[in-house]
């Protein structure tokens, strides 16, 4: 074996010799046999439905009757006629603008605190991680009681400091802030915090020591050492946070189902309504592809801009 470089599924060495040795061929056969469950699963359960949904997005399809090709009608209806499309997009964007930055900052602060060398750090890590392990249904029930306008804990706390009660989930102005609060409870101490923690623990100690020798205070060390060194994790958490917040469904489905007056009609909830309540599979597919395009654009933009602020040790962003 002279090389391991592979192109088009055939080792260069084998191409160079013009034929595959029997052992190499057996190795490649075994390779494809081993990955075939995943490959078949991906092709049948992911790729094929995705391709089908592209076609369906150009049709009217109610499951029982065959799809009827309507060209760009679904996209035109979505963009120019459907007020709820715009509303659901706005609701989701509004939620994203607050929940992602606050969540990322919160997770980072928590990770910085938990990165201190303490005897109880494992305990705190577990405590902070617990909310992300709580099942969505349990979270929804819990938070509905906390937000309850008469007997909820939050209004009791407001009352204790002399503030008027808020009808959190029943008020168009307050329902999204309420969801942001739940997202922070769930997300600040979850997987994002663990990723930050891993990033922080990978920052070489000697950089801090060198900065200290140069007279840098904690803020300078944080902005000039910590942030650049964990910038790839910051980028990762930002991208995953935005994708996740655009896909919010379970909590809104369980807590408000879009109420009041569609003030919490998240985009995916609206997509679900069209697909499974109104059986407008063609229109729902168009909504899904629009969401895909939005997320792809936002993600590509983040990658494009990341070259300006993300530092990769020993390499570039791409």
């Amino acid at each position: 074996v002279t090389t391991t470089t592979v192109r088009s599924g055939v080792p260069v060495s084998a191409r160079r010799h013009g034929r595959l040795s029997a052992a190499r061929a057996a190795e490649w056969r075994d390779f494809y046999v081993c990955i075939s469950p995943w490959l078949i699963g991906f092709l049948v359960l992911v790729a094929a439905p995705m391709l089908a949904s592209i076609y369906l997005s150009f049709t009217k399809y109610d499951i029982l009757q065959p799809p009827k090709f309507v060209g760009l009608d679904n996209y035109a209806e979505m963009l120019f006629e459907d007020a709820l499309f715009g509303k659901s997009l706005f609701v989701t964007a509004y939620y994203t603008v607050f929940s992602v930055p606050l969540g990322v900052i919160g997770s980072l602060v928590l990770a910085l605190l938990l990165n201190q060398k303490m005897r109880t750090d494992s305990l705190f890590r577990t405590i902070y991680y617990l909310p992300s392990l709580t099942p969505a249904v349990a979270s929804a029930v819990l938070w509905q009681w906390i937000f309850h306008h008469d007997i909820g804990l939050l209004n009791a706390a407001l009352d204790a400091v002399g503030l008027p009660p808020v009808r959190w989930l029943l008020d168009e102005q307050w329902v999204i802030p309420a969801f942001v609060i739940v997202s922070l409870w769930q997300g600040v101490g979850g997987g994002r915090m663990i990723i930050f923690l891993a990033g922080l623990q990978g920052v070489p100690e000697h950089l801090y020591e060198a900065a200290k020798v140069d007279g840098a205070n904690w803020w300078h060390r944080f902005t000039a050492v910590t942030i650049p060194m964990i910038s790839p994790t910051l980028l990762f958490n930002l991208i995953m946070g935005i994708i996740g917040s655009f896909q919010v469904f379970t909590l809104s489905f369980l807590m408000t189902a879009g109420a009041p007056n569609n003030a919490s009609l998240f985009y995916v909830l609206y997509l679900y309504r069209n697909a499974f309540q109104y059986l407008k599979m063609g229109y729902a597919s168009a909504l899904a592809w629009f969401l895909f395009l939005v997320l792809a654009t936002v993600t590509l933009l983040q990658f494009a801009l990341s070259g300006r602020w993300v530092y990769y040790e020993g390499g570039t962003a791409r």
Partner: protein, 453 residues
């Protein structure tokens, strides 16, 4: 060599004698109905396969419902009765019915043979050709007499002149009242003389701040974000949900909007009903009738198994109050249909007949769920020894009760109205403003859906 299960001549003769005796006995049995039956004593006549009924094959018939544990227990008992009657049929009961899931299963050819249907889902499912037209099978079945069902119920389970299902039970909405609370205020109980004014007058006396903390803790009425309750006020005021042919919503017209405001004012102006809250993604009351803190609620007989558990107070029922345009109430029903994709139409039909027939009705009646759809069977389902005393009122109420709608496009077209009503039920907007805004939007969607077929 004879197998262990082979039929010997002796056992064949035994079986023949047994079947013959059974046939003679069953021919002597009472005809379906209640002639001579005592109220409360459920006497059961058997559902008979007709002389012209096709021979039945070995089949497993799947029934899908959404009635939870109670439904599962009832249908499992009925499955045993069916097995006794038709040994070749096995009724498999699945508590997982969902309309969208059912449509997907029909398209995939894997739908349950018998879906649970209501008067509102029949036009949706039949319109989408997801149900089997039962008229030809029913007409060919000499033993089936459609007149044993209440005429209204037969009509509600038909679509474009054909029968697509059989109703098994119905329950008009009535006014349930906590007689203990009325007694405490020395108020006369609601009765059929009650108007909206009498209702309001009593409500103002029933609501009370009993502990003096500045907030009411005893309430007169439980408002619900559920059209089966507020439609009696809409119709009573002379309004309507739809125009005659259900092609336009009409809740923005004055009588309807006034009725909706009347209900909202009970919570936000008169303070005689607890304000609605949001729980488990539904806008509901924080204090239900069963807490004993609310004197009146509109509900169907479906809640009776739950209300029977109440021991802290006495309750009874009365007709819903009448408004300037008379007395009206809603009529929810439940029944069975056959999936268009069933591979066993004859066996499925026998099961549907059985599920709506007297033996199955006896099972439903034993759990006091709702009123049986068989005209002559309704009175037997009542038990005068148990509350409510005025139970027979459910039978009378069917005369002035009607379904809220039978519009196949209701779910999608009504969405703007129900979103706007959330603001009315939470005291954020007047009914007139909300409906003036939402109804044109709903009518636009409805017109598009009707045009698209």
């Amino acid at each position: 060599v004879k197998g262990r299960n082979a039929l010997t001549r002796r056992s064949f003769l035994k079986l023949s004698v047994a079947l013959g005796t059974g046939a003679v006995l069953s021919s002597c049995a009472a005809t379906p109905g209640t002639q001579g039956a005592q109220p409360g004593a459920v006497q059961v006549a058997e559902t008979q396969p007709g002389p012209t009924a096709p021979a039945l094959s070995e089949a497993t018939i799947r029934l899908s419902h959404f009635e939870g544990d109670l439904g599962q227990r009832n249908y499992s008992k009925i499955a045993e009765l069916i097995k006794n009657r038709y040994p070749q049929i096995t009724l498999s009961v699945e508590p997982t019915f969902d309309q969208a899931k059912f449509l997907v299963e029909v398209a995939a050819g894997t739908a349950p043979d018998i879906p649970y249907v209501t008067e509102q889902t029949i036009p949706v499912l039949a319109g989408k050709k997801a149900l089997l037209n039962l008229s030809p099978i029913a007409e060919a079945d000499g033993s089936f007499d459609v007149t044993q069902f209440h005429e209204k119920l037969v009509e509600y389970y038909s679509h474009e002149g054909s029968m697509y299902g059989l109703c098994r039970l119905y329950s008009p909405y009535v006014l349930w009242y906590n007689s203990t609370m009325f007694d405490a205020k020395a108020l006369p109980y609601p009765d059929d003389s009650w108007t909206f004014d009498s209702f309001l007058e009593a409500s103002l006396k029933l609501a009370e701040d009993s502990d003096g903390d500045g907030k009411n803790d005893l309430w007169a009425y439980e408002c619900q974000n559920w059209h089966n309750t507020w439609m009696s006020f809409v119709w009573g005021f002379g309004g309507s949900l739809f125009n005659e042919d259900e092609t336009q919503f009409t809740l923005d017209q004055d009588p309807a909007a006034e009725a909706l405001q009347f209900v909202a004012d009970l919570m936000y102006k008169l303070n005689v009903a607890p304000q609605l809250t949001l729980q488990e993604n539904k806008i509901i009351t924080p204090f239900g009738f069963t807490t004993g803190k609310v004197a009146m609620v509109q509900n169907a007989r479906f809640v009776l198994p739950q209300y029977t558990q109440i021991t802290e107070f006495q309750f009874d029922i009365a007709p819903v109050p009448q408004g300037p345009a008379g007395r009206h109430t809603t009529l929810p029903t439940g029944g069975f249909a056959a999936s268009a994709s069933t591979k066993h139409p004859a066996e499925t039909w026998e099961c549907i007949k059985f599920l709506c027939g007297p033996e199955a009705q006896a099972v439903y009646a034993s759990t006091r769920q709702a009123m049986p759809s068989l005209k002559n069977f309704a009175a037997v389902a009542l038990d005068p020894t148990l509350p409510p005393k005025n139970d027979a009122m459910f039978i009378d109420a069917i005369e002035y009760a009607k379904p809220v709608h039978r519009c196949p496009h209701f779910s999608e077209a009504s969405a703007p109205i129900y979103s706007a009503l959330e603001l009315v039920w939470t005291g954020k907007e007047s009914a007139k403003e909300a409906m003036t805004r939402a109804v044109p939007e709903a009518n636009k969607i409805l017109a598009e859906l009707i045009a698209a077929g």
